[in-house]
């Protein structure tokens, strides 16, 4: 009942100055719309750019690196145990990069509930022979079906598909730039030399484009058994196991665990791609900064309008106080006005922001490096809308606070005497 009365008074004051109120609300609307659309666009871009890398990269990678023996002879001498060891005489031997028991590891991983999937890989360097020139390149031996399932391989194919690797014996998929350099097209046969000096001829069944030039210039894919043949290894030879997890944030912990269990090296995605997180973070930060800056400007608008209103309404405030309304009541009246401006402007801002997002989402965005993208990427995360309305209310309350306090402190005697 009491609050209802205060609300009625706020509403009457607000209606009496509806034009200014509308301008103040429009400021909030503008800034919230800006905030929503900017954040939606920026994070849409983030998701896209992250996806460019993160979708293609395993969350955990198991491999075996060649390095000097961990146990040097000097460590075995009890007398030197507490000393610093300078002598490390046992050098790296020509150990195998093979992951032992790879089949057992893959079976184990496929049954682990933390793991979405695991796929074997063999990576080897080759020289692509192009007339007199040899181009250094890398052939990745993959399991085409699994690769497609876990890393959306086909999304990056511009002709052919991953499945063709298993259908066609001795086949290869080349990066677009590499294929251009080799003047090779689908259906043609290329020649390559392995590091051991053996020469092979493989048929090109597809081309891919990842959007990363450096990658497309050197990479090629063949099925696991083709690469095993290139290296002259048996069917159990695997150098990499790529794992995708249900929860990417678990990657560092899981990597450590797997390294112990399987006695291999393990690298997690966060360590391997730290720079992408930084990029995403900066883009998000910029969006928030711009949104909040605009909102603060709108806050000053509200502050001004409330101040002006209070200046105009001195008589009203004096009468309210003389007839028994307390300073607190008067303060609530003006805070409510600020709140209405914030809520109304904010809600309209959410709508406008959504509208702008939808429009941006329709604008064509065609780039050869991203074959699956046709329009600008936009993120409609409801979280932004929540933050938007909370921000608009917080800003208006903050902007309304000082003027409302001023109104509550108005001395009716000064006003009545001054007339």
């Amino acid at each position: 009942m009491k609050l209802k009365l205060i609300m009625d008074i706020s509403w009457a004051l607000l209606l009496a100055r509806w034009k200014q109120t509308l301008v103040a609300a429009a400021g909030v609307t503008f800034s919230i719309a800006m905030f929503i659309s900017l954040l939606g666009f920026m994070t849409g871009l983030n998701v896209l750019l992250d996806g460019l890398i993160l979708n293609r990269v395993p969350h955990v990678r198991l491999y075996k690196s060649i390095r000097p023996s961990q146990k040097q002879p000097v460590m075995q001498v009890p007398g030197f145990r507490k000393h610093y060891h300078f002598i490390s005489s046992v050098k790296a031997v020509n150990a195998s990069q093979q992951i032992r028991n790879s089949q057992a590891i893959l079976t184990y991983l496929r049954n682990d509930h933390l793991v979405i999937g695991a796929t074997p890989r063999i990576t080897t360097q080759v020289f692509f022979n192009d007339g007199n020139i040899d181009l250094t390149g890398i052939v990745q031996g993959i399991d085409p079906a699994l690769e497609n399932k876990l890393f959306n391989f086909d999304e990056y194919m511009i002709s052919g598909s991953a499945a063709d690797l298993s259908k066609m014996p001795n086949s290869i998929i080349l990066g677009k730039t590499l294929a251009d350099l080799l003047l090779a097209d689908v259906g043609e046969v290329i020649q390559l030399t392995t590091t051991q000096g053996q020469v092979f001829q493989l048929k090109v069944v597809g081309l891919f484009q990842s959007g990363i030039q450096e990658y497309d210039k050197t990479q090629s894919y063949a099925s696991v058994n083709v690469v095993q043949k290139l290296l002259g290894k048996t069917a159990s030879y695997v150098t990499d196991i790529q794992i995708k997890l249900t929860d990417i944030t678990q990657a560092p912990a899981v990597a450590k665990k797997f390294a112990q269990i399987f006695e291999t090296d393990a690298e997690d995605i966060q360590t391997a791609n730290a720079q992408f997180e930084t990029g995403s973070f900066i883009r998000t930060l910029i969006s928030y900064a711009v949104g909040i800056t605009v909102l603060i400007v709108a806050g000053f608008g509200i502050y001004n309008i409330l101040n002006m209103m209070i200046y105009e309404k001195m008589d009203t405030i004096a009468i309210l106080k003389a007839t028994g309304f307390s300073g607190k009541d008067v303060k609530t009246v003006f805070l409510l006005i600020a709140l209405v401006i914030g809520l109304f402007g904010g809600l309209l801002g959410l709508l406008a922001g959504f509208g702008i997002s939808v429009i941006v989402d329709q604008i064509p965005f065609v780039t050869p490096s991203l074959p699956t993208i046709t329009t600008y990427p936009v993120n409609y995360d409801p979280w932004f809308y929540g933050i938007g309305i909370v921000f608009s209310l917080a800003t208006t309350l903050l902007a309304g606070w000082l003027p409302s306090r001023k109104a509550s402190k108005v001395d009716p005697v000064v006003i009545i005497r001054g007339k």
Partner: protein
Amino acid sequence: MMEKIVLAARHISKEFADPLRVKVLSDVCFEIKAGEFVSVTGKSGCGKSTLLYILSTMDTVYEGELWIDGQLMKNRKEEQLAQVRNEKIGFVFQFHYLLKEFTVLQNVMLPGLKLNKYSKQEVEHRAMEKLTMLGIGDLALKNANHVSGGEKQRIAIARALINDPMIIMGDEPTGNLDKKNSELVFEIFKRLAEEYNQTMLIVTHDTSFARKTSRNIEMEDGQIINDIAVTDLV
């Protein structure tokens, strides 16, 4: 039976320090009993308004004691004083302060709604009654800004009456009205005194007005120099 003391001023003094230290009120003492119709007169600048603002609890910076309805007003919170004004005091200013954003009826209702003693319907009914009693019931739904000065002052009186206050205070309520309207407003005060036994304290410089009240307090340089029942005056 002794009449109840509605308001008592005990040794009230006030000085302004700005621009010079001037004592505006010195040692003002008097009591108002229920049903009295008191006028306060004196030359311009003698401290009448200042006294009235203190008595109405709006001004809290003074020395001495103010008792309203048997309660001391010293050291009370702003909110409590607002409550006292709302419930026990009706105020009529020289300039007819109405809220422009509301209708006549709403203006009269506001202090009643704030008091929150009656339902909205009852407050509205009571407000209508007061307006009708003052002969301006037909203005109820007009915007408060669209009525004449004399009408505004009568609306202000209706507003002062809405919570059945113990005392009505007025600071030159006829000071800004023409002769006809002044007389109309005075007739209303007289009726309130005679028919409703309403306690009133009205500041005025209109001696003919003062002569018709039941008691006159005369001030000079912040002091009471005369406090007499008006029947003696004739």
